[in-house]
Symmetry: C2
Subunit: 357 residues, 2 copies
């Protein structure tokens, strides 16, 4: 599997043929094309692309949220499996997900690229179309960036700024004993999609299309996170970027509370079971293990259930599952309670980007 | 010249030995060490490192500035020439310079790393010490980040947020005809330092220490930019990251004005002349060409000179040189007027990160 970032090989225009400033011009034209018809300077954006720094005008009474995510060819994406436009949208989604998980509104993005010699200008334009389009869908504009060459591959690092009402940011470490633990969507699907791509490449059976889409074309639950965060019912929230157990661990690490998951409550659907059988893994291993699903985990008191579900339904038809509860008895631990009522530590702790490869 | 990012080879702890979460722990401890004694949450920082996103509380009446800069081993720095701590400080300086050039105050940074297998944990800690220390010197805190592996080398991408009074950001493209063009320090020194390192490696004659320091250990003129920006005298400002001609071009690109430099006014000191002789280049070529000096170029009406100089002197003893003026007659052009009064286009346009290598 190659990390070269070369989608079309010699068929495209190499970046070296038009130079750094030529590339910047092309990408700016490309961004302008995507953003055409949108107000070039939203109330938030005072100075956009093209100066030493962008200038942004915070909404009075709001705080600024800021997150970043670096995506490396061969590590976070395999060019042979994902189109440039999908990649751009995916890189945007990864960051949108973080702002949503704080209960915020995405506003402005800044992008750094390190580009290997085999990446074509046309493919970078497609990356930008996917990225800007996805950001625009969520109300965020591209306001700056920086470009460099690199010996090989492609690195895309996006910083996304958002806003949230002062004091309204939903932290990951504020779950309370007795809260119900919820997760949206079908966690583990992305891990299944990745495993299926590793097995079949582009020729996976059509029955697995949803799993593969979960990995290649994740939805960012930014609207859902915003609705939940402002519902008043949610005590803590995090997005699933490491995997269910890994991110649940992040919620209780160093805290006085723990989390107990109920095995019978875990959302293991038929597609996940079929995918697990195909790749020779237990469905629960896929569900609990490393998987960047960009779903949301949130906690809410039992009497906040209706309020939280109403908020979620207002913006989305994604499923939400009550998978366990926050407990006082096991500080910092994530436990799995099996169908016999026995509790043991839940498995894997998520991706380790240095653990292999 | 190697881009491996390997300062100590096998003598350090490889990142793979402690894993991604182990590395994050080590770096967080390292940051805590540098920031010890400073209020861990300045009024600006509401949520720092450790959640899906940081949360920042803008000062009422201010705008947010945001800039990013990606530094790639073998392109922007050569590990054999620069210590990890110097590298960290340099990466911070590059971004501080941009916030200063807008007239802003640095506030919060977020860092993405892509780390090759030969980089030692101890060296990354040194990078962070240099980076956090330099940011702290200018009032900015590290509030988040993201880490990945990469096949080789080291990529450091920093996004820096700052603040400026609403409407107070100093743009690069607002120079007015008749304004004097100023530059601080000794532009071209960084290019000379780089050329000397390419020639001598670590064994350059001591006479050239200042040139080499200009390249390896640039000062960010953030305080100077802030003072100039709030002086009321400055009409436009940019930092020198591409080189004098390149960045002057950025100031007039697409504008109704041009800039004429007076050759006799250019600050060509004895050290630059000696360095140019050593490396076989014309001093004026070093001065005008590609060079990331992180000095400031600014424009001010002639009757604003005293006001601008007083502001600058209030925070710094760096030299400032009136090198030319803004003219209406040559839209978008940067001209050089020689000692005989003849004008011709000024040379090179700055770095092109794809032009070579």
């Amino acid at each position: 599997v190659s990390g070269e970032g070369a989608w079309r090989g010699s068929a495209g225009t190499p970046v070296s043929a038009i130079g750094e400033f030529g590339l910047i011009r092309r990408l700016r034209e490309c961004i302008a094309g995507v953003e055409e018809g949108h107000d070039p300077y939203s109330p938030f954006v005072v100075i956009g692309i093209g100066d030493d720094a962008a200038a942004l005008s915070p909404t009075p009474g709001h705080q600024i949220l800021v997150t970043c995510d670096i995506q490396v060819a061969g590590r976070h994406f395999i060019p042979a499996w994902i189109t440039p436009r999908e990649l751009g949208a995916r890189c945007a989604a990864v960051n949108l997900s973080d702002i949503g998980a704080m209960g915020g509104l995405p506003r402005a993005a800044i992008v750094s690229l390190a580009i290997g010699p085999h990446v074509a200008v046309e493919d970078l334009e497609e990356v930008y179309r996917g990225m800007c389009g996805r950001f625009l869908d969520h109300g965020a504009r591209l306001v700056g960036g920086n470009i460099s060459g690199v010996a090989e591959g492609l690195v895309i690092d996006i910083t996304l700024l958002g806003e949230v009402e002062a004091g309204g940011a939903v932290r990951r470490d504020t779950a309370r004993p007795g809260d119900i633990v919820w997760v949206t969507g079908a966690p583990g699907s992305s891990a299944a999609g990745l495993a299926l791509l590793q097995r079949f490449g582009g020729d996976a059976p059509a029955a697995f299309a949803d799993m593969i889409a979960a990995y290649l074309r994740p939805q960012a639950r930014a609207r859902e996170g915003r609705a939940l965060g402002t519902s008043g019912a949610v005590s803590a929230m995090i997005d699933v970027s490491d995997g269910l157990t890994g991110d649940l661990n992040h919620m209780v690490e160093g805290q006085a509370v723990g989390i107990v998951l109920r095995e019978e409550a875990l959302p293991i659907g038929d597609p996940l079971v079929a995918a697990a059988a195909e790749i020779g893994l237990a469905p629960i291993g896929l569900l609990l293990g490393a998987s960047d699903d960009y779903e949301l985990i949130f906690t809410a008191a039992p009497d906040g259930t209706e309020q939280a579900m109403r908020a979620l339904r207002g913006v989305s038809d994604v499923a939400a599952w009550p998978i366990g509860e926050v407990i006082a008895g096991a500080p910092g631990q994530v436990l799995l309670e099996d169908r016999q009522g026995r509790r043991h530590p839940a498995g894997a702790r998520g991706w380790d980007h240095f653990g292999s490869g």
